[in-house]
Amino acid sequence: MLKPPTAADRGDSPAVRSLPRIAEYLGLMAVLVLLVALFSALSAHFFSRITFTTLANQIPSLTVIAVGMTLVLIAAGIDLSVGSVMALGSAVLALARVEWQLPLSVAVALCLAVGLLAGLANGFITVRWAVPSFIVTLGMLEVARGGAYLVSESRSVFVGAAMGRVGMPLPVIGLSPAFILAVLVVFAGEVLLSKTILGRYIVAIGTNREAVRLSGIDPRPVVVSVFALSGLLAGLGGVFHVAYLESADPNSGIGLELSAIAAVVIGGTSLMGGRGSVVSSFLGVLIIAVLQTGLAQIGATEPAKRIVTGAVIVAAVILDAYRHTLGNRREHD
């Protein structure tokens, strides 16, 4: 709930580092380890290889979507449409594969294209009419969901083997190609953010859009491409989702935007823009996933699940905050 960093904010900054130091992640990793330890203590079966592979194969969609969301938030925007866009994408994918019998590659391309288009629309409307991205993407959330219902005639479609083994665990390691791809996307995202010119502009725009404009750079194309990217990744999330479920459900991804934003913010990205790291967002995703899986495994009751989840999310962020210098603390109080 803070304005962009002020001159008074003299804490450490993404700018100073190329790829961020491992130290940055200690706080979140501590939380993660704590959670795993906790659940291992509570359930005899939790601490097993299969638990972790299952977990890993479950999160690719959320992961890639969180990557896109990180960039959007750092650019001081927000993308509420990711869940619906993912659903729309998967619906199209299923249609193309099952109804039209198109080759996998083409179907996937279609799915990605849908996501990209939705993202471009978000970005374009946002900059063209200077509408808050919250509203634009909220609109897209509804529209894309409607689209998903249309395409799928509101029925989930079984795709089965038609998706190949993208979502299936690989023989020895037990991890799915989807997961490995997702991890690659995470690193690509981190590199984009901290190593490329586009990334620097994203940070700059998120910090002080006016300053960027005044210094002679047009922020709009950057903003558009960020939303486009987020849309594209939502599409990719759709592909992974279908691959994992072997079917496409027009209702999938409801409320996904909240989980994604939560993961990203747990990862320390500021909703006010200008500050954040993709890798941290990934840690955020892991924390949420472990929490869900763990609670299910120990068979917690629904109320318990809710209350614990809520408490842990807040605790995680507080704990992580203690890692930060007083420098940042100062501007908060």
Binding site: P4, P5, T6, A7, A8, D9, R10, G11, D12, S13, P14, A15, V16, S18, K195, T196, I197, L198, R200, V203, A204, G206, T207, N208, E210, A211, V212, R213, L214, S215, G216, I217, D218, G274, R275, T325, L326, G327, R329, R330, D333
Partner: protein, 519 residues
């Protein structure tokens, strides 16, 4: 690239009949000629239209009427980028750096060196170091985040950014407002080199002695009209001032009797990392203490620490003989009767998107409240209006957004905020930054008056002349230490500058870089 057409006879930049109005007319039928190889000073009272003109020249604002030509060809920059391509660079009055990016990235934001979209870090740092050294900033690590810099250092970075890009026309809008003579000397050396290379420089400043030093010609602006253009050589400063402010009497600073009462503020062993080392001093009732020092010497850190704006590691602050205060935050400070005017009006003082009146009364709102809750609009308005007149704030209404005011007028609003609040100790950090000559006198009067009323004042300023005119004593800071304090009469400009450098001498650059890297 621009350097090609150096010695042009006819003016390099020609402005004809430019007009601009917002709520009220700002520029009317304005003509201006800028020759290659000249430094052309643009002067005028706050709100005269200087920044607006420079924004127009640099494509940030489109004039309602009028034409411009650059090197003969018609010139209508539709964006800052276009202006830059045409070889027109600008240092804006309001700093527009990106705090989360490094100094290097800010220096070359518009043209980050890269390969296949990747930032070429090595090249970037190299160019950055070069640009910084040119302004004597060789001690500043280009990888530091700008959010760590004091306002003065930020101003130097902004200046360096403009100077690092070759250009035909360079517009500098109060580039030195927070710089001390030391940094200014280096800057000027650089400007003279550019002039020699045939660059046309439009130089905006409220510091008369600078104008005399550097400018070839002077154009005076009043209420958006050019009232005079003349060679700097045969320009009498008081004449120029009269042209600027018109009939508004400037007058001299009336003498205040310098016989301070007993101690009002005692600071002992103030320490904050390597940036503030064991700073101790006293201020007495009715006394004005000046804080001099180089940019980054810790003056701001000191006042912020006293005010509780930052957490300090060690040190005691007490009101006179009283027990040490526990100041957890600015609120406690204010309760203890200490007020502060921060150095960075945009980030730390103003509510840019809110009306002037709201900005003026923020700190004293409870005084305009009926029955604990209700704001008494009428009384608030009256108070705000009195302040506006007292400090001569130029705004066409008290409901104009503070962000729409000219820089100097914004600064006046910031000062106004603390005049209503009856604090016994007031800390002013660069109080006259960007304020015009006449208004400065007005501010000095206010300060004197406050002192006369028995308040204790600490004034941080980069303008030595100002301190020497105002203060009873001047404390000099160097590398986070308070090295000496001069009493009125004892001081001389050279002595003060020498003291300001003392702590850096010998330990050289490394010391200062150390401070920047710390924490």
């Amino acid at each position: 690239m621009a350097i090609a057409n150096v010695a042009e006879p006819l003016p390099l930049l020609r402005v004809r009949g430019v007009e601009k109005r917002y709520a009220a007319p700002v520029l009317t039928d304005l003509d201006l000629d800028l020759r290659g190889g000249e430094i052309h000073a643009l002067m005028g009272a706050n709100g005269a239209g200087k920044s607006t003109l420079s924004r127009i020249v640099c494509g940030l604002t489109t004039p309602d009427r009028g034409t411009m030509s650059l090197g003969g060809e018609p010139y209508q920059p539709h964006s800052r980028r276009a202006a830059q391509r045409a070889g027109v660079q600008l240092v804006m009055q309001e700093l527009n750096l990106v705090p989360t990016l490094s100094v290097a990235e800010n220096l070359f934001l518009t043209d980050l060196p890269g390969r296949f979209g990747f930032v070429a870090v090595a090249a970037l740092l190299a160019r950055a170091v070069e640009a910084l050294t040119a302004l004597g900033l060789n001690e500043l690590d280009p990888r530091t985040a700008v959010s760590r810099l004091g306002i003065g250092q930020q101003q130097l970075v902004a200046l360096a950014a403009a100077l690092a890009h070759p250009c035909r026309v360079l517009v500098l809008d109060e580039p030195t407002a927070a710089l001390t003579s030391a940094e200014i000397e280096l800057a000027f050396a650089h400007l003279r080199r550019l002039r020699a290379a045939g660059t046309a420089i439009l130089y905006i400043s409220h510091r008369l002695e600078e104008i005399r030093q550097i400018s070839d010609r002077i154009t005076v602006l009043r209420d958006g009209r050019v009232v005079a253009t003349q060679p700097a050589a045969d320009a009498a400063l008081d004449e120029i001032v009269r042209l600027m402010v018109g009939e508004r009497a400037v007058g001299a600073l009336d003498q205040r009797d310098h016989s301070p009462g007993d101690v009002a503020l005692r600071v002992e062993g103030l320490t904050r990392g390597k940036r503030l080392r064991n700073v101790s001093f006293e201020v007495r009732k009715g006394e004005i203490l000046g804080l001099a020092g180089l940019v980054g010497s810790g003056r701001t850190e000191t006042v912020r620490a006293i005010f509780g704006a930052d957490r300090t590691h060690a040190g005691r602050v007490s009101r006179g003989p009283g027990p040490p205060l526990t100041i957890a935050g600015p609120k406690d400070a204010v309760r203890a009767g200490i007020g502060m005017i921060p150095e960075d009006r945009k980030e730390q003082a103003l509510l840019l998107s809110q009306p002037v009146r709201m900005n003026m009364t923020l700190a004293v709102l409870p005084a305009f409240v009926r029955r604990r809750w209700w704001i008494d609009d009428a009384r608030e308005l009256r108070a705000a209006n009195e302040l506006r007149l007292r400090l001569d704030v130029r705004s066409h209404s008290l409901n104009q957004r503070a962000g729409e005011l000219s820089g100097g007028n914004q600064q006046k609003v910031v000062i106004a905020r603390w005049l209503l609040r009856e604090c016994d100790v007031l800390l002013f950090d660069e109080p006259t930054r960007g304020i015009d000559v006449a208004a400065k006198i007005a501010v000095y009067r206010v300060l004197n008056e406050l002192a006369a009323r028995g308040k204790a004042l600490v004034v941080v300023s980069s303008e030595l002349a100002e301190l020497m005119a105002l203060c009873d004593r001047i404390a000099v800071m160097s590398a986070g230490r308070l090295v000496t304090t001069f009493a009125r009469g004892e001081w001389s400009e050279d002595a003060i500058v020498a003291a300001a450098f003392s702590e850096y001498a010998g330990r050289g650059d490394t010391a200062r870089r150390g401070r920047v890297d710390s924490c």
